[in-house]
Symmetry: C3
Subunit: 319 residues, 3 copies
């Protein structure tokens, strides 16, 4: 594994989940692996969990994290080729990526979807350009269409909390939010869940018009009736996203889609998951997130181990 | 000592001061204590001394500091329970504090008073919420009502510079400032000084209407005549604060309250102290801050050792 | 060498270049030298290469970098003596520099020219004040009139790529840019090149009115005909700067000064250099920066080793 851009870059999701659970038991075991290696964490967008857990993971591996907030500490990059750069952008990503590759052994990037230009977002403008021009491994800390470190943490969390069943019902439920949010978490969770085809029945529920990119949800059951979707579920994974068809629009803030105890009652004692940050009493009622079945904090803890297992694999390939 | 929220959390201020002075002689002695431990420094407000000295103290103890500017690098937190979070706040402090506790072994927090809502400030909204929800020790890097790392550095500095006298006259003097400032430093200095009841005579001087919270100054002499307060003093500690009664207002910018050589002349060769940053020729005349009796730089140096002794105590309790 | 403020602080540029090239072969050799030492990187302006490469150099030497963005994380400093500080500035540089010297073993500073007050910029207000008041070595990470870490990286790069010739023709060429830029890089490159008087013929070319400070270019040939300047050149170093005489003004954005393949064709197979960030197709045509003769990426890589050799010299003098 050179880069970690999507969960499909893992040689095996299942084996990686097992390895992460082993790392969690003894997180400092591989401190020699990253010694004298730097990881540059480049933030084009704000971050809490990703910022802290990726640093923690790097430190556990003996690496030196160097953090840079690209917008406020640097300047705007040009991503188009051949332009006359006489406007607001001071540097082409080609130079930036090649140069940073000389200072950092791994480059981690967070760059959200702008939600204005579907084609540009789908093309992963920032992540793709860094992957193209950098000469070191790239780690996706949430790009315009994916958040594979989150999805891997989700897989670890499900593995740790799954009931003894032959096939789990895993439900991804849209929930309302006042602002337009990207599709990255929804996409990556769906891809991760669908990669467990032998073990998970994957159901996605949302209002009509909130279909994710169908290429990323192939194999999932789309169910517009949220309560029906919840019936017998083992895991309820909640997330808002803006419309994909009417790209980036907030067509619906229908509060009846909020996750409540009433809805959780029809599941098979399902665990409640969310990537956080979460808006209480908008996305999910206090009664659910504060219940025993809520595993959002444990899920966030696994962000350290998903980052660590991925960095470990990248470092192993480098050495 | 689990948390360090106020100077009263120290088992003994005097013993801690002695221990800090020992640490200062050999600051790298305890580097093994913090090995493989992270401290998250969360800044809700700007900082220079606290930012740098707390990192330095953590490094001296072998810890890994992880700094986050909450406002610009993260997002606004919700502190109220039960609200429908459909406005500007993206995450409840409950999740944030629990999550960060999984990445950081100690959480240090700077969150100033807003000076608009007295009750909220007195309740230490941010610090209290983190203390309530975090599962790791909390270090106060200046909260709405206290700055106990500063007060401990002040105690160390007084110990190092005190004349051989049975009882010291320690004066806390208000001085003018163009903007509304919090009460935290004044409060914590007063509390620290008043805890030395056998050794210090504590006098607080300010214009009428600038009384600090009387609960925090019980035992001190309030003297509205600044020059009278200075007579025979051994230490002059200066600080501006806005009105507490007419909460957060700047009722008085009377430049006659500035600390001048003329006023220092009536003291018993008193040392001049200030927590910095200080506005020259507003709070204090150049002639005083540049005099031999000014110990503000040495006082700032002790910020490293006050943070280090506190972190050492917290780490010792953890191990 | 106590401070590194200008390239003239080096005991010998040539020997330092040789030492840097040795360090590059084995960058971790001196890790013990910086152990338990902190370097404070204070940014008054944005930065990418300098921010990352100086941290990397410090880490290679075993130091702990502490980064602070002065504007957004701290507050405005007062640089004038004797002022009544009742306006926007919260702290005098005297206190700031003395205090930071107690937390950091070396202080590195980036503070660009404001380009409004020529006298103030020429006096290096920020850098000079820190040098005056700090009690530890100061490292210039680009000041109002110089960028000596860049110039040293440039010298290393020229040494590595020079053809076998008795005397090299080194050309510094102005190129157009939409915004007003400082003179620091041009100044320091000229000073470095002119210090190689036995080895370099130094030619500076720019439109009339774009003369740099003549004191810094004494010994160079000023040639207003760009193509004539390029004839037989071995190195073309390009950089924009605003007018020095009509201080800080952009009098000319004549795109005919852009570096093109056509112009490079009259050189003696010259290498193309630029400090980056560079605006493509404004400063330089894609065809040149993407050509085999472009060494801008290698030049940026040498930023690590120029910082490292300078820090090594400072550390050696301290120990």
């Amino acid at each position: 594994m050179k880069h970690y851009l999507s969960i499909h870059d893992l040689p095996s999701i299942k084996d990686t989940v097992k390895e992460a659970i082993e790392i969690k038991k003894n997180p400092l075991k591989d401190q020699a692996l990253g010694k004298n290696k730097t990881i540059g964490l480049l933030f084009f967008n704000n971050s809490l969990r990703t910022r802290l857990s990726t640093q923690k993971a790097a430190l556990n591996l003996g690496m030196e994290p160097i953090v840079m907030n690209f917008g406020s500490e640097g300047w705007q990059l040009e991503f188009e080729d051949g332009t006359i750069m006489d406007q607001g952008k001071s540097e082409h990503v080609k130079e930036a990526a090649e140069v940073i590759s000389q200072y950092c052994d791994i480059i981690a990037i967070r760059a959200f979807a702008g939600l204005e230009d579907k084609e540009k977002d789908e093309a992963e403008e920032v992540l793709s350009a860094f992957t193209k021009y950098a000469t070191v491994p790239i780690l996706n800390m949430e790009s315009s269409v994916g958040h594979p470190l989150q999805a891997l943490a989700d897989a670890i969390t499900i593995e740790e909390h799954k009931p003894a069943k032959k096939k789990l019902k895993v439900v991804l439920s849209w929930a309302p939010h006042p602002r337009a949010l990207p599709h990255a978490v929804g996409n990556s969770f769906a891809e991760m869940a669908l990669a467990h085809e032998d073990d998970f029945e994957v159901v996605i529920t949302h209002p009509k018009g909130y279909e994710l990119n169908p290429e990323r949800t192939k194999g999932a059951t789309i169910e517009y009736d949220q309560k029906k979707a919840f019936e017998g579920a083992d895991f309820i994974y909640t997330k808002n996203w803006s419309s994909y068809n009417d790209y980036g629009k907030v067509a619906n803030t229908d509060s009846s889609w909020m996750i409540t105890a009433d809805k959780m009652a029809v599941t098979d004692n399902a665990k409640f998951m969310h990537c956080l940050p979460v808006r209480r009493n908008v996305i999910v009622a206090d009664e659910v997130i504060d219940s025993e079945n809520s595993i959002v904090i444990k899920q966030a803890n696994n962000r350290t181990y998903s980052a660590q297992v991925v960095l470990k694999k990248i470092l192993e390939e480098m050495s």
